[in-house]
Amino acid sequence: MKYLPLIWSGLWRKPGRTVLIFLQVSVAFALFGVLQGLKTGVAHAVAAARADLLIVHSRLSLIMQPLPYGLLEQIRTVPGVKVAVPVELTQGTYQKPDQGVGVVALTPEADWPAAFTFTIAPQYLAAFRKSRTAMLVRDLTAQKYGWKVGDRIPLKLPVAQQNGSTDWAFDVVGTFTDSDIGGGRYIVIVSYPYLDEARLTGKGTLNHFNVAITDPKLAPQVADAIDARFANSSHETKTESLREMAQASMQAIGDFDFLIRAVVGAVLVALLFATTAMMVQSIHERTPELAVVKTLGFSDRAVFLLVLAEALSVFLSGAVCGLVLATLALPVAARFVLGLSMPGAVIVIGLALGALVAVISAAVPAALAARLRVASALAGHRAA
């Protein structure tokens, strides 16, 4: 404890230099925090995805391979199935070609929200069931385009109507929120019976079925039972839980693991080099002072620890500052990359790394300081 003032005055001998090193460490660890937060956030998002919600899609592919509507009745009779809802997906645009809207067309049967990750107020649900051209809008979509309940919204869909037109119009009857991070950001829900009746081609087909099951533990058995029903038919299915799908899609980011490691490595190397050079410079300049300290009776080891403690305090405070910055920045970054979060483990690893870099970069200067010979140092010879 009694050495604290000594460390403190050592730190502030050249305030500019200390502040700059502090900032450099902060920046490095802010980047570390964001990159690691990306990696671990993905793992958390997968764990949070629902395991009791199954998606039945074509065995060929998850996207763009239609299934016939007729499979619905057979899926319903599979034991363990609570709700099965037909879903057709398409990508529309609003006013301009670059203003995309993900359109989820579904059949509003009783209790259909159980098979989705959406949260919808009861009065909106009732209104949606009443009108064929009704549209429910995700809160983010409504915010982005400024839509309100009661508006009639023209959308351009890549689906032609009977008269050949690709211009559709829907009435906003309510809003909803979505807890699934893998789903689209700007999505709307419309009625499948209306869409299917009004379209020119592809009638009676759809993208996939959402299935809610009675017991999450039965998910693998129910999925296998559904696929078994359609095995060797012309419409073989593949049933997966939302969690399995999140795992699969998030693994794509796993390819960035190498990149993240390389970037963090480059950051730490640059930091290590910069701080070592600074510390050596600082020890050179302080040769007479360190000599005086030794004359007063400080052992070599004490001087070594003193220099190490200085480095540690700058690095740890800088690392804390950087990680706090990263935590603050994550909500902003999460707007671009879904599923970012900063678990405690990242902070612990960050601080440990900070201490490690501090010790490595201070080792040489601290050894220089400890090996200082008092007589020659006092005579004005620099540490070498």
């Binding site: 230099r17 490095a28 802010a30 980047l31 763009m64 391979q65 480059a266 950051v267 190397v269 910069a274």
Partner: protein
């Protein structure tokens, strides 16, 4: 004139003393090279993806898809195909038929060979013999699929990345077993693509529309003719784009994401490197206080002193930039990556090297500003008296 003479003399003096201040100088160089190296390597992803997609795009080829749709969302009903073939401006082949090829694209799910993770690749049904219609494509093994049979040919990257693509292997698609009969290469594309006969593929999948069509124009100028003909035909809901434009569109989102990530990480690293440079320059100036004060006493102005420091900082950043670019080129050029399931080679282009150097010069300029001011303000008398 005087300013320039003083400036040149000062700069030569500072650079001559580089060897005595090796620690500080190396700090600047290594900091800058790490920041530039990371920026350039990450930008190389975007340019690599773009190079692969645009390779083999011809000026005289156009892509036709359904209005407002792109990629696999597009569809051209089979009964509109003949109307498309007869559109004006399309070149006739040797056999006198219009050079229009229809494609039916189906994303197929597969598992990675090593990790077992799921990934999609396109199965493309084509109406023409692919080795005849695409000069970039050449078979490396086996033969082309025969029309009317459930046969596939796969690109070399499929073989490397996935299991089940050896010649003779059978893959179940749409309830039928398809036999792999050949392997092909398409430029240096790293993407797994599987080709089959469009008619047999569509009948197996009960599909009645093609995804898109690629047509060869008589001359690039015929684009306008074809476009007008399509727009004036009320029965067709199709649009035409240059092949290059259509392909660029397909990669825009991925490219935007990759470049955003590159500049985000690159900027943060540049801030760190700039801070390090400021610190080093301060150290350099502090060790030269007496030298600078002497020069000022001899009649050197403060403006040339500041300008020389600023220039020195940029000159020191340059070797860092070159080192960073060289490292990125040596370590990552032509490395195969597959972010988001799209495989391509990293491409460190001269353009990226220029961006890296400019980035480094900006770091040097910003990092040199404050130290240059301090150098210009060295109080002559006190600095000369100090020991």
């Amino acid at each position: 004139m005087n300013f320039i003479r003083q400036f040149v003399a000062l700069l030569r003096m500072s650079l001559a003393g580089t060897r005595q201040r090796l620690g500080s100088v190396l700090t600047i160089i290594i900091g800058v090279s790490c920041a530039v190296g990371v920026l350039v390597s990450m930008l190389a992803m975007g340019s690599g993806a773009r190079r692969q997609v645009l390779a083999g795009a011809h000026e005289d080829r156009v892509v036709v898809n359904s209005l407002g749709a792109s990629g696999i969302q597009s569809s051209i009903p089979r009964n509109e195909a003949d109307t498309v073939r007869d559109l004006p401006g399309i070149r006739k082949g040797k056999d006198g038929k219009p050079m229009v090829e229809f494609q039916s694209v189906v994303p197929i799910e597969a598992r990675r060979r090593v990790t077992g993770r799921r990934i999609f690749f396109p199965l493309v049904g084509v109406t023409d013999n692919p080795s005849a219609s695409d000069p970039e494509l050449h078979l490396t093994e086996g033969q082309v699929f025969r029309p009317g049979l459930h046969e596939l040919i796969a690109s070399r990257p499929c073989l490397r990345q996935f299991s089940g693509f050896e010649i003779g292997d059978e893959r179940p698609i749409g309830g039928v077993d398809w036999t792999v009969v050949g392997h092909f290469e398409q430029g240096d594309s790293q993407q797994c693509v599987v080709l089959a006969d469009a008619e047999i593929l569509m009948s197996t999948l009960h599909s009645n529309s093609y995804t898109q069509a690629t047509a060869t124009l008589q001359t690039p100028a015929d684009y306008a003719v074809l476009r007008r003909a399509l727009e004036s035909n009320p029965t067709l809901h199709l649009e035409v784009r240059h092949e290059r434009e259509a392909r660029e569109e397909g990669i825009r989102q991925l490219n935007g994401l990759l470049n955003f990530a590159a500049y985000f990480v690159g900027s943060i690293m540049a801030v760190g490197a700039t801070l390090g440079a400021v610190n080093s320059l301060y150290t350099i100036i502090d060790s030269r206080r007496r030298e600078i004060a002497t020069l000022r006493a001899l009649g050197f102005g403060s403006a040339p002193v500041a300008a020389a420091i600023l220039c020195e900082s940029m000159v020191l950043a340059l070797p860092g930039a070159l080192l960073g670019v060289l490292l990125a080129r040596a370590l990552f050029h032509n490395m195969a990556v597959s972010p988001f399931g799209f495989s391509f080679l990293l491409d460190v282009t001269p353009r990226l090297a220029v961006i890296g150097v400019l980035w480094a010069l900006a770091m040097g300029l910003l990092g040199g500003l404050l130290p240059a001011l301090r150098a210009a303000r060295v109080p002559v008398t006190t600095a000369l008296r100090a020991t």
